[in-house]
């Protein structure tokens, strides 16, 4: 069995336990304000750390990545949908790369 399948199954087990343990065992609400706050901030910190600076090398050219990043920031700040932000970000990078070739 290839190592890839072990990775897939391991992450599936960890992720499932996170979802299943509270639903099956803990039947009360979390009281600790600190833990609730911590869990509230986790996605923002994780996604921000995953996005930058990795996004700068997402395409073949730093310039097209930077333009795509800028477009995404402006659209997201104006509360456009997930799809709109992602699509226009890719399109902007594609147009920039047309000129770079």
């Amino acid at each position: 069995m290839s190592r890839v399948y072990l990775y897939i199954i391991l992450m599936a087990v960890v992720t499932y336990l996170i979802r299943a343990l509270p639903l099956t065992l803990i039947r009360k609400e979390i009281k600790s304000r600190f833990i609730k706050s911590f869990l509230y901030y986790v996605p923002y910190a994780t996604l921000a750390a995953m996005t930058f600076p990795a996004i700068l090398s997402a395409t073949d050219y730093v310039l097209s990545s930077v333009i795509g990043f800028a477009v995404a920031l402006v659209l997201a700040f104006n509360k456009k949908s997930l799809l709109t932000v992602a699509a226009f970000s890719c399109a902007a990078a594609f147009i920039v790369e047309l000129f770079l070739h």
Binding site: R19, P22, L39, P43, A45, I55
Partner: protein, 242 residues
């Protein structure tokens, strides 16, 4: 009956249609990334079917690509998907207290940001039949998009794939940036996480000593803990409107 009827199931399917369409697009981007590191269409689809988590799956690719350690992968998934624990706690409040463990385990499989969002908005008790409708429809889109993406990644021209690499980051940005308008704390969290991430990536020793998986783990724990300490959220949804 606490389980719900076929009508509840159909309502779940209907309510999940927007999620399904969104998931096809998002997982398409994941499929392309998975094919870039050499995963087959089957492996990518299996990952999506068993995990159903965009940030978790995406972050795992980097570790899989370089044959990273299993411990690192487990901790990374735990931290990134920790938010599901909060959602599961909240969902448990909406279930019939007498609902059996089997159905609870079934609903657990489909706790994602989007399915959770629709589930908590459902009026009254949450019936498993309704949840299963949501889950079946959403996961169908998630796995379909992944397969199409992984397949396209193998046949599409390189320049197109290069630009589509931005899609997943575009979605992350679309999730985190809107809330920075209403919450200074969220703005501070986003900016410090990005700043720290930059330091960890380019600093002479740190950049090479710490893998990207542990980088994300450390930054998430430090920044979220600091924010929770300095700006604890007030209402139960966690929105602090400053």
């Amino acid at each position: 009956m606490k389980v719900g009827t076929f009508k509840d199931f159909k309502e779940g399917c209907r309510d999940a249609l927007p999620i399904c369409l969104g998931y096809i697009a998002v997982s398409f981007a994941f499929g392309i990334e998975a094919s870039k590191i050499g995963m087959s269409v089957f492996q990518a689809a299996m990952t999506s079917l068993l995990n159903v988590t965009s940030a978790g799956q995406f972050s795992a690719l980097e570790i899989i690509a370089r044959n990273g350690s299993f411990i690192e992968l487990a901790i990374l998934q735990f931290i990134i998907n920790l938010r599901y624990m909060l959602m599961s706690c909240a969902l448990s409040q909406k279930l019939d207290p007498g609902l059996g463990t089997g159905h609870r385990m079934g609903i657990s499989y489909g706790v994602t940001d989007e399915i959770f969002g629709v589930s908590v908005l459902r009026k009254g008790r949450l019936y498993p039949a309704y949840s299963y409708g949501l889950i079946v429809t959403s996961v169908f889109g998630w796995v379909l998009g992944t397969s199409l993406g992984a397949f396209s990644g193998q046949i599409m021209p390189e320049r197109l794939i290069s630009c589509l690499g931005l899609a997943i980051y575009g979605m992350f940005i679309a999730i985190i940036i809107p809330d920075t308008r209403t919450s200074k704390a969220v703005m501070a969290v986003v900016l410090s996480a990005m700043a720290l991430s930059t330091v960890f990536t380019y600093a002479p020793v740190l950049g090479t000593a710490i893998s990207s998986g542990f980088r994300i783990i450390i930054i998430t724990v430090v920044v979220a803990a600091a924010a929770a300490f300095l700006a604890p959220v007030s209402d139960e949804n966690g929105g602090d409107k400053e």
